[in-house]
């Protein structure tokens, strides 16, 4: 099984193969990012504030271009708040004005009150540039793996180890 280690040519080819897998994944992610114009075209739902529509672990596909119409009321958007790392997925419930400076207010379907409390201090509304995408597609459960990985960091090491081992052991 470990015969490849004795053969430098084969070892190099396997290393290349591993690099190829990683770079392909990276290229696909960045390519999707360019197509959707969103820094993070796929997000995993982390909270239950949009239940029953979205549960923890569901995967959302985002779209961040305004080809036909402006982002407006009723759209489910992912936004970032200043000084907070975690993007939030909520629905726009109010929009005042038009254009890039329109004032937007969001609310989670499952929450009683709107998001004013979640915004930065002194911020009452979002503007278009706070939004990193509108939800257009939905795939259930698939993202749960990333929640597990971030909640149990040792899983990450185990998974990387298995993946590395598989590539090294694979003979073509």
């Amino acid at each position: 099984m470990f015969s490849s280690i004795g053969n430098p040519r084969q070892a190099a080819a396997q290393l290349m193969n591993f690099g190829l897998i990683l770079s392909t994944a990276f290229m696909m992610w960045k390519g999707l990012s360019i197509i959707t114009d969103s820094p993070s075209p796929i997000v995993v739902v982390l909270s239950g504030s949009m239940e029953p529509a979205f549960q923890r672990g569901d995967l959302l596909l985002l779209w961040n271009r305004n080809i036909q119409a402006e982002t407006s009321v009723g759209e489910v958007v992912v936004y970032n708040v200043k000084d907070k790392d975690i993007p939030i997925v909520h629905r726009i419930v109010r929009k005042f004005g038009t254009g890039p400076n329109a004032k937007l207010l969001t609310k989670g379907d499952n929450n009683l009150s709107d998001d004013t409390e979640l915004y930065a201090k002194g911020q009452d509304f979002l503007v278009r540039k706070d939004i990193i995408g509108s939800v257009v597609g939905f795939i259930p459960y698939v993202g749960y793996i990333t929640i597990m990985l971030s909640e149990h960091p040792w899983l990450k090491t185990v998974m990387l180890g298995i993946m590395g081992l598989m590539v090294v052991l694979q003979r073509e």
Binding site: P52, Q55, V73, G74, R94, F96, F138, I139, P140
Partner: protein, 232 residues
């Protein structure tokens, strides 16, 4: 070549491929199912503007529009086997800036005054309800996995869930306000869809989704100011 590791890998690869193909097929059935949502009534019952505070500890006074409305709509065609929930919402839309008023740009300001989550029987267990309401909901569709009758809405003289204002705090005496019904279909897997302005293959646009234009009156002073004892 045929080590158990390779077999495991192939099995897992095939499994994920099958799952994604099946999911894509299910998602695509949305497009072959006709939709013909119709609104038969959408009208205001009473409209008033009151003065109030955004929250208890605020000293800021704002004007709030309280719009009671009636709604009758048939959205039953939106409920299919891939429907997880339908989110129905009514917005009030009005122009505010002089240029928007001149151009008749009603959509300049939009605010949701009422919304409702209609779960499909298959997602009832996820609804955020108390035990009694949950029991009633589940009983209403016992034995059914799809219940299009939930799309038939008859709502009379409904109080708004949200009292709306404008960032300028002024909303009284606004002309050309309309109510608009919207919906958002949330699938079990696939694309989220909203009410359309035009027909899209088998999906018809939402009919009569707009109310007649109405005007918001001047501030009603008697009741609200009297209660707080701080008339201006």
């Amino acid at each position: 070549m045929y080590s158990s590791l390779v077999r495991l890998q192939n099995t897992f690869g095939f499994f994920t491929t099958v799952i994604f193909v099946v999911a894509a097929l299910i998602a695509s059935t949305d497009f072959i199912t006709p939709r013909a949502p119709v609104v038969s009534t959408l009208k205001t019952n009473s409209v008033q503007v009151v003065r109030g505070r955004p929250h208890y500890y605020s000293s800021k006074k704002e004007e709030y529009a309280v719009i009671k409305f009636s709604l009758e709509a048939d959205l039953s065609s939106l409920f299919t086997w891939n429907t997880k929930q339908v989110f129905v919402y009514v917005t009030a839309e009005w122009p505010h800036t002089p240029s928007a008023i001149a151009a008749g740009n009603v959509t300049e300001n939009q605010a949701v005054i009422w919304d409702q989550i209609i779960t499909a029987p298959s997602s009832d267990h996820l609804a955020n309800l108390g035990p009694a309401a949950m029991k009633k909901l589940r009983k209403s569709a016992a034995g059914k996995s799809i219940d299009p009758s939930r799309g038939k809405l008859i709502i009379k003289n409904q109080k708004p869930k949200y009292q709306i204002t404008h960032p300028s705090s002024k909303i009284a005496e606004t002309d050309n306000v309309v109510l608009k019904l919207h919906y958002n279909v949330q699938p079990w897997v696939g694309l989220l869809t909203w009410n359309q302005e035009t027909d899209f293959f088998k999906w018809k646009k939402l009919k009569n989704g707009l109310s007649k234009k109405f005007a918001l009156p001047a501030i009603k002073t008697k009741k609200t100011e009297g209660q707080k004892g701080s008339s201006k």
